[in-house]
Assembly symmetry: C2
Homo-oligomer: 335 residues x 2
């Protein structure tokens, strides 16, 4: 039996891309439980682009990680010990837990996962936060209508893949933008996207989008920002909607990036843009999880995981998000 | 009795600011009436920034003006002759009519104005399109709540002045941005704005806004764009709303203007931005006109007009909008 806990602490707020000086990988005792707390042994943890924001101390939707404290994020794991009436030893649970072997956490911050319904890792993507993010961003802000054209940047990411599949369920034409032929082949052949554009090898992204979207673009689900968005914006239709979910092109910027001003287009075409974060919709998770679980179990939402072995490799798995390594959801198998 | 009609035709699409080569000022016969048409002698015409867009042939919400055809816009005038059952000689009417002494127009495109209720010129601003624009942009997109802070660019323009006064009626703190001390004194002393900033003489607009908005900015009603918006965006609060009504800083751009990318801020703070044009709300004009007329008659919405005499001076009155000459609604008294 393991008697020590390994944890990643935030050693230094990164400037630009995080590197090894960002983290401190330490051993400590397994935490003691307080009243209503549960001790969870992590099985899988999720690395997500938004975590880069929490490493900074700028004003944002999520509180910054604290220096010399554990980093944390979505984890699925097993209850080892429980001081909370709703949880017992052996339960599979998910919640925001440490980049660590063990986390002590209030039971009210955990959600039970049924391991017989779907693989437990899906609680970290299609049946979890990325799925919910796709669901609310597309359906609540995007308001897709049958026959409309939806363009997704970061289409092969954990959120983008779900967005595209829900948009197909709603009868839309779906065009993904991603960074490799392998990813694009997957989007088209496995997930049923109508077209996919490789922004790394396309000379004229705007022209490629124009050809892939003969009726213009009604919804642009943006995970990326930067020059990809520049190309999309000029092709948006009247009354287009832009759910703004991520700006990964800018998370490591060390100074303000400049780009073409586009608001005259947004004005002339009565375009809606809305930044959002999934927790805005906390009160409505139940309806969404139900829909997602149904679509996943029926095979209408497929998924792909990329699993790195070993807690110690978490920083590299996280960096991979910015290198565009991952096809599908990037997870770490803790041990 | 005048037997000739004077008209401004669009001679050439301007590049940058319009000049005398843009127009052709011609004499023609008074138009003949077809079935259901009404002959209106214009009394006042309105010049508005959006008309610059219609002089170009770029894709926009309003069809471009046609070359060698009359320019047109909001006019209030008197019925001279009517082939339409709803209108009789002597009626005061408003609608989209030519930059001309006379216009023949379908009766279904006219609205009657009651000259006993308010001065007829108000049908071109507080009781007309600019008032409706302010009303729907602020109330429908901005959704102001008591105690919130509203910042308005182009605050001394026809739309901006109404936005600020409605926001005060809704219990908000109202901060205007305009281009002269005279305008700002008017906003504060006559219209009850809480503060006003002169963007032409303020060295650090962002700092000035910060001081004028100690609780941040909840609604930014934007008529201007460019560097003024750059300064505002970084001060927007979580869940802020940006009704995008005008981008006058860019209407005469001859190439794409560059500016700082701001969407990471919009993402992190769940900010909504929506471009709009008043005709999106056509089905709801009646409720709005009723509210506006009530507020105007009770003195809760005040207004200021700047009237240029003579149809022949219309191009110069129009140019004045881009020079920032006007305090309040710019009108032309046709004869």
């Amino acid at each position: 039996m393991v008697t020590k806990n390994r944890q990643f602490l935030l050693a230094k707020r990164p400037i630009g891309l995080p590197d090894e000086s960002t983290y401190n990988f330490v051993e400590s005792d397994i935490p003691e439980l307080k009243a209503n707390e549960v001790l969870v042994r992590g099985q899988y943890l999720s690395v997500d682009p938004y975590m880069r924001g929490r490493m900074s101390d700028a004003k944002s939707y999520a509180a910054p990680f604290e220096l010399d404290q554990p980093l944390n994020g979505g984890v699925v794991g097993t209850v080892i010990k429980s001081n909370h009436p709703n949880f017992s030893e052996g339960d599979t649970v998910t919640g925001r837990m440490d980049w660590a072997d063990y986390t002590a956490i209030g039971g009210d911050q955990l959600r039970k996962v049924n391991p017989d319904q779907a693989p437990i890792t899906t609680a970290l993507h299609v049946n979890g936060m990325p799925g919910l993010t796709a669901y609310f961003g597309l359906l609540d802000i995007g308001q897709p209508k049958e026959g409309e054209t939806v363009v997704i940047s970061g289409a092969a990411g954990a959120v983008g893949m779900v967005v595209g599949q829900i948009a197909k369920l709603k009868g839309c034409r779906v065009v993904g933008i991603a960074g490799s032929e392998e990813k694009n082949a997957y989007l088209i052949n496995e997930l049923g996207f109508d077209a996919a554009i490789n922004y790394k090898t396309t000379n004229d992204l705007r022209q490629a989008l124009k050809e892939a979207c003969p009726d213009g673009i009604d919804i642009y689900f943006d995970n990326v920002g930067g020059e990809i968005s520049d190309a999309v914006f000029s092709l948006l239709n009247f009354h287009a909607r832009v759910p703004l979910c991520g700006q990964i092109a800018h998370y490591n910027d060390t100074q303000v990036s400049m780009g073409p001003r586009f608001l005259t287009t947004f004005l002339k075409r009565s375009i809606l843009l809305k930044g959002f974060i999934v927790t805005n919709y906390e009160g409505r998770y139940e309806e969404a999880i139900k829909d997602l679980a149904k679509w996943v179990s029926e095979g209408n939402i497929k998924y792909k995981e990329n699993i790195v072995e070993g807690l110690e490799n978490t920083p590299d798995a996280f960096l991979g998000l910015f290198r565009g390594d991952n096809l599908g959801k990037q997870l770490v198998k803790i041990s």
